[in-house]
Symmetry: C2
Subunit: 320 residues, 2 copies
Amino acid sequence: MNEDDSKETGGEFQRDTDYVSDRITAGGRTPEHGPADVRLWPVEPGRYRLVAARACPWASRAIVVRELLGLQDVISLGLCGPTHDVRSWTFDLDPGGVDPVLGIERLQQAYFARFPAYDKGITVPAMVDVPTGQVVTNDFPWITHDLFHEWREHHRPDAPDLWPTDLREEMEEVMERVYTEVNNGVYRCGFASSQEAYDAAYDRLWVALDWLEERLGTRRFLMGEAVTEADVRLFTTLVRFDAVYHGHFKCNRQKLTELPSLWRYAREVFQLAGFGDTVDFDQIKQHYYLVHSGINPTGIVPRGPDLSGWTEPVAVPGGG
Amino acid sequence: MNEDDSKETGGEFQRDTDYVSDRITAGGRTPEHGPADVRLWPVEPGRYRLVAARACPWASRAIVVRELLGLQDVISLGLCGPTHDVRSWTFDLDPGGVDPVLGIERLQQAYFARFPAYDKGITVPAMVDVPTGQVVTNDFPWITHDLFHEWREHHRPDAPDLWPTDLREEMEEVMERVYTEVNNGVYRCGFASSQEAYDAAYDRLWVALDWLEERLGTRRFLMGEAVTEADVRLFTTLVRFDAVYHGHFKCNRQKLTELPSLWRYAREVFQLAGFGDTVDFDQIKQHYYLVHSGINPTGIVPRGPDLSGWTEPVAVPGGG
């Protein structure tokens, strides 16, 4: 995503949620959940490119889910560098600064290919139609939803059930609370523009983190014994917590390493294939500390924290 | 002190060390150590006022030593508020914003009373001659030195031996390293104006903290079984570490709470009379986060960290 896409109300950070919400569905069918009054594009191996950035927590969800489901051969991945300018994320990591599949330098070009006068946020993740170079969707919660529900035919045989039907209702509640209170909660702290808004945001965040600490004291993963989409969505915030949110966003009651259940859980998820191996802490730190000049005007990126604990063996509760 | 009193060299922070270096000595005698080619003022109960600020680590040394030696009745204490403007520390905590003994609003007035064209830093701690309202000295290492060596006649009967003669040589070495590498080391990190200067400062700081962690693994206090001036000088930095330096100055390899020997030691010192009871964490946080607008332009003061650990019982190594 791009944090410039925000509005302010009384000092409180408000995320701009105005997305291109087309869907990619199996055979172009009408989806069972979510926005349906949009253009429906058909699932087709090799047709779409996921444009993401390892720095961005919202984009990282899609990177993780693509790996977990084994979709690497049917949906290619384009990666933007950790920083972006006021206009767009760029392909500055690629040779010549050009995405080798889309042939563009700036993600903005794929938005303009679709809507020449596009004036909303140029955000990652974005699914791009390779033949036309047009953005199909940047509506991140539905991108990962549809990678699971609509691309099933192309999943690897032992792909995890990220959306167990019998848990869906409870999972939606958990994910909603994680989204508003934690995923967005850290930004509400970091981008508060008054002491009062920050204080309220901090208290609200820690109510949620205390809830999660308690929940994960009795569950191996958020929904029980197996990883689900809910874990993907929490993980991408937790993995950034000590590296960025604790200091840069002033979410500093404790470090994640000081919350025993959350730290046990976060490390266990990190050590699963598809999670930690998609994380680039240097890009994460560079992104936040360089892009947000309003809260880090020196542009100096901290050398800490020591992140070696992420790969240390984890004692799983109850030997589970 | 006042962090505006700094110069820069290649992005590295350099502390301005140009002080008013008069001494207050017993009977106005020539002191055995330190600057002697200065005006020598006589020790005299009730004559001098120590002007300090609980926010400032350099001033806090003098507050602590005055308490430890029981000099409260012979040297009065004036306290400036946590923030200062570009000109001066102010007495904004006092009724009407006026120091009740000196009758001034700004510490600057005491400097001007002594030197009408004074153009160096208006810093705390400062010893002020109450009859004339003139600053006598702001040379902080010698202020605490002389409180011990020159005011002995007025110490409380069971005052600690802060400068044990047989340890003086080693203590000077330890204090010098603590000063250049830790007391100043955290500022070198926080005020570095290039990534290269910061990186070098961070590495240099952690070499010193690793040395202290090892040293305090085998010693109860820095010099052995008893508190000395060396502990006062280290403590005033350590007590600010997690609250300020870790995040604000990006000294974030670990929190103090993650360094077992240093954390055991810092808490044990904190819990001695004269140390923790002179600490005001709110003032400390307000000072750094509000005064340094160059590194915290929002002026938002973090609510964290949880500081409750400082008062928890400490297991002293070897039951000592």
